[in-house]
Symmetry: C2
Subunit: 208 residues, 2 copies
Amino acid sequence: MFMGASTKQGYDIAIKSREIIRDLIKDDIKDLNPYEKDIVERIVHSTADPEYAKLVKISNNFVTESLKSLKNNETILTDINMVKSGITQYDGEVECFIKNEEVIKIAKENKITRAAASLLYASQENFEGILVVGNAPTALYAAMDLIKGNKINIKSIVGVPVGFVGAADSKESLHETDIPNVITEGPKGGTPIAVACINSLIQSLKEV
Amino acid sequence: MFMGASTKQGYDIAIKSREIIRDLIKDDIKDLNPYEKDIVERIVHSTADPEYAKLVKISNNFVTESLKSLKNNETILTDINMVKSGITQYDGEVECFIKNEEVIKIAKENKITRAAASLLYASQENFEGILVVGNAPTALYAAMDLIKGNKINIKSIVGVPVGFVGAADSKESLHETDIPNVITEGPKGGTPIAVACINSLIQSLKEV
């Protein structure tokens, strides 16, 4: 059902909310395609923060490449479990390796964050699919390095880490690559934004 | 470790982030006690949105009553699994009933949301502890009704649902009761805010 609502009451709230949001942000999103519009609307819905309509930047190839991957039920890898918990309607696997024993070992040995170590581990495990980062800039840098070295098969990245230290730079770096990506400009971002973005695409496929 | 960081790099980022935040919001939080300050700082950390320093409203009895409950390892009940996933350092139980078969049945029979039905179910199960709501205004209303009727033993409520429809009213209603509570004024709120608030208190206990 629309926006993850499972009852009539939830559905009605979601519909009314969308109408309010469309009215608030229509000028900001007028040049986007319908898939991109839905992504931005859903982000604003999940944060009640219309500023995101100005901050979300979607690369030209993001929707097409992501939909291709999702249609094939390729794996979605998330940086933290909170992001994973929000992706409840996908027919493929949703993975988060942050608590994996091997990942914790890689992090300690290399003195890197567990989020970055997750990407090294995913590379070892021949990961193929979409990366969704709601928290850790270090996960984005690790992914960009591995992609550059042809060491991981990431089809697209939802890269929306949050924070005043490092997050904005990591997102800007990602958006400058030719990896299909969506980012939020500046420090703002986080779990609800990451989840809203990927769920929008998953939902789009179910409605076709 | 501080702010859930598990490596030196994560720890350094968290410390620097806190310094930036303190500088941004110091005027807004100058009248709060140290526990309350930490709650607000952590919310701003998790959203990179300094506006929350103006929106967070903490009732006088919230910190004391919540700490008492947490010290006793009473259960934390969350409205959605995303909130549950973010509470990783608690020694007591963290529960979410949204996917419980009985809850789904109660929701259908009474034509209410599953989030509201979760509260009815918790009441049947003699729940005792803290309620953390990051998403569903209906969960707040259900909790307020049950508390009024002495049907549930909720010690405090983190009530920060997000959305343009109903969320603000539900939070205002909660803040007018004498239930120990924290809310965010207006439509903004959500999972990261809920998680930051309860994790701040859990962390405070570990540092004593």
